[in-house]
Structure formats: structure tokens, C-alpha cells
Amino acid sequence: MQKSVNQKFESNPTDHSFSTCEDRLTIQKVCEGNASAFAELFRKYYEALYRFATRFVSDTQVAENIVQDVFVKIWESRASLKIHSNVRAYLYMATRNHALNVIKREKRTVSIDGYTNFESSLKSPDEQTIDKELHKAVHKAIAQLPERGRRVYEMHKFDGLSYSEIAEIQQVSINTVKTQMQRAMKSLHKQLSYLLTSIIKILIS
């Protein structure tokens, strides 16, 4: 898995990241000490990685710190940085690992489950449409999924990561990812079916 940046990467048929080629050029420049390239990488991925970090820790400041630390580490180790083919997956993996370390270290002060805290701290929308209610219910149901399955679901549906990227980030096989995805979906469906059937009734009547 450890390949040097200068090697050709194999394109992944299910990889949907359009920017892989550009990323590799950018990373190469970063390794050469190009601060502008570093800034470019930062600006491109910061918000998405921050969003991803909030799936591990509920405190947004902590989430930002995690992502910033990841970038600091990348710059500081740029001389010996070895990134496998997909820069995006690498960044997500680094963020995940760092987040898990933070959680381990500060078990008392940092919440592990990010979801439910958010639900209560945000204002609920004024618009009482059926869709909004359903989405809220979906988020609650997602929060109740077992940790692994929930992470896989979020990474696939919300972070837009492919199954192979998730497999790399979570350090499991692609089949495991697919199974977890399916299980998560089934579980959500089971939890929400009562709501969905009543919605259908409302729409039809």
C-alpha cells in the first residue's frame, strides 16, 4: 500500500473523484515544499474533511482542530510523505485516524456520537413539510445504527466516497463495506417503514 508519489496510480473503475490527477500533481508540489500547493489542497478539502470529522466528534472546534492537525502533519512530514494512489482517501483516512486518537485521549470530554448532539443544538426548520420531517427521522435513525455501519453509510451517502475508498479508509475489505451498507439500509428501512407507509397514505389520499 505504501507507494511513492511518483509512481503511476491505477485508476479505480468505481472511483468517482474527478480530481485525482490534479490532486497528485498538487501533492507532488507539496512534497517539494510548495506552500501555494499546500494552500490549494487545504482550501479544496478543508470543509469536507471538517464535515467528516464531525461524524466522530460533536464539538465543531475540536473537529476543525483535528483537520488542521492533519494538514500540519502533512506539511511537516512532506519530505518523507508517501501517499498511495488516492489523495482524497488518504486525507479522509488521516482525519479518521486522528479523530479516533483524539477520542481515545479525551474520552471524558469529547462525545463519540456526533449526531444526536447536533439535532438538539440546531434550530428546527420552520417549514413543516413532510419531507423535512422524514429527513429528521432519517437522521435520528442513522444515529441509532451500530457505529461501523453508520460510518459506512455516512461516508458513502454524504461524503460521496466510493466503496473502495471506504474500504481503504476503514481498513476492511470491499465486501465488508458492501455488507455493512446493505445492513445499514435494511435497518434504516425497518426503523422508518412505519413512517414511510403513513407518508404514502397521506400522499395518496
Binding site: V67, Q182, M185, L192, L203, I204
Partner: protein, 342 residues
Amino acid sequence: MNDSDWKLILDYLDGTCSEEKSKDLEERLSREDDLHRLFGEVAKINEAPDREIPKPDVESALFAVARRLGIEDEISRKPKPNVRIARHSFRRRNVWPGKTTILRIAAVIVVAVGAALIFRQTMLSPFQEKVIVGTGQRFRLTLDDGTKVTLDSGSDFRYPRSFSQAQREVQLNGEALFEVTSDSDRPFTVSTQDGRITVLGTVFNVRAWREGDKMSVTVIEGSVTLESMSAQSTDSSVKIEAGQMSVLEANRPSTPLLVNVDEYTGWLQRKKHFKNTSLREVLDQLERWYGVSISLSEPSLNHERITVHLDNKPVNELIDLVCLICGLSSKQNGSSYLLSPI
């Protein structure tokens, strides 16, 4: 519902299903009620967006990190004040288009032909940047190729962070002055709701407000071609030379005429000359420049045509001037004005 059904539905919603399997599924959905219901329910769950979290301040974070690393000086600042910048970059897959209800899904499946396309994701082009200029502000930016664009208040401008090899394309709703760098290999195109301007390297002004009057293009240096968005052939495109202006009327660009270009670029100094323009358009311009709201007691007045020259003066004076011309009086309430006939 067995495992392979689940797998099929999930792959279909992901857009990773083969054509054959997709058609298979669609056909089954129209026949099997249970499967159809399951599909609809899963689709509904699938369309739930990610939860909302507060947006981070990326630039502050970047500079905090840069300071920590001691590379602050090597990073250029992105322009920030008075402008909201939204970034559109391809991130999410599986975006369910719009508010598809389960009933609509049923109807679409029955149709079958082309149905598969509806469930695939819509893709935004990568690296599209958007700038919206606040009221009372003007904003100048430099594009990837060195082209400088000055945007007037309220304008909405979209451009890619880096231009492609073949062309340089941007979109505008509002008013802007373009100073386009020469590049004979890559034409520079400005698209607005009504028209399209193509140029190789030049200085020109575009006025194209969606809610406003006709789109106008004034060339200061060089030359541009202007054509209507609904143009069927290139016959209805005109070439506008330096010192000339053309207006899009009834989907055709008018014959370019020599004008006093200062009249049309006066907005850069907050001066604008309106000739036989609807009162509403004049008031809209004041609203955008000064961040006020101006309404008329009688809606029919919006369509009155006036000729007026606005200078860089306090907004009250300008509103008084407009009132004088139209025989109205104004009542002010904070930053809102109501104009009514005397």
C-alpha cells in the same frame, strides 16, 4: 425481500448498476407491487440530505495553520470583504433530483423509456466558483488567465477556478466591466440569461440583469461578438467594435452604434445615465447601490419611463430627484422608502 433484491436496489440508486440490470429492475418494479413499494421507501430514505452543521471559516483556518508552520508569507490571500463566495465542487453522489414523491416514482417507472436517467445523479461541474456582490459594494477579481472583472452591486458571477484548454467561460447576472487578456487559442465567453458574448482579448461592459431591461454590451477596446442565447444560427450575431454599444431586443442584437462609453461605464464611479428607462429599473439600481428598499404606492408606476442622470450623491438626494421627475413624494422609514403621487 431477499438479499439480491436489496443489492439490486442499492446499486441502482447508486448509479452503479449495469444497463441490463437496470432494465430488469424497472420491469420488475412495474410488475411486482411489493418490490415497487420497497423501492419507493428506500428511495425516500436515500434522498435525505446530510444534516446541517455550521460552516467553517476556511481562510482563517488556513492562515492559522500557515502561521503554525511559519509559511504564512508564502500563501496568497483570497479576496474576502463584502462578498460571499460559494464554492460548487462535485462532492456528493446519489443526489435525488428534487422533491420526488413516491407517486411520481410510480408514474416514471411505468413509462420505462429513459426512466433510468431520472434516478441517476445530477453532476455539478467541478471547480465552479460563484461570487455574489453585496448591495452598496463593487468587487474586482482576477481570473485564472489574468482577466480582470469588476462587478457592480448585487451581481452574481460564476467562473471556474481554472479555465479549460479550449475556452474560457463565465456566467453573469448583473453588470460588470471585463478586461480580458489576449489569448488567441482560447476565446473568452460571457453567458447571461439572454445573450452570449465571445471575445479574444479586450475591454467591454456588460449590463444583463435578469429582472431588468434589455441586455447591453459596450466595448471600450478591441471587439466582441454578441449573440442571443436563443439564436438558431450565427447570422444573428453582431460584431461590436470599440466605442460601440449593442442591445439585445426581441432576441436579436441591435446594430452597434457609436456611444459615449463613459455613459455606460459610469457605474464604476456610481454615475449612471438612464434614458427612457422604466422607473422600476432605476429604483432597482438605487436599491443595489445603497442597500435600501424602495417601493411605490401604486404598482402601475413601476412601468413609467423616465430619463435621469444619477451621480455619486447621497441616496436621499437621488430619490428626491427621481420624485421630482415623476411627481411623487417619498416617505422614509429606516432604509425603506415609499414613493406615492403628490
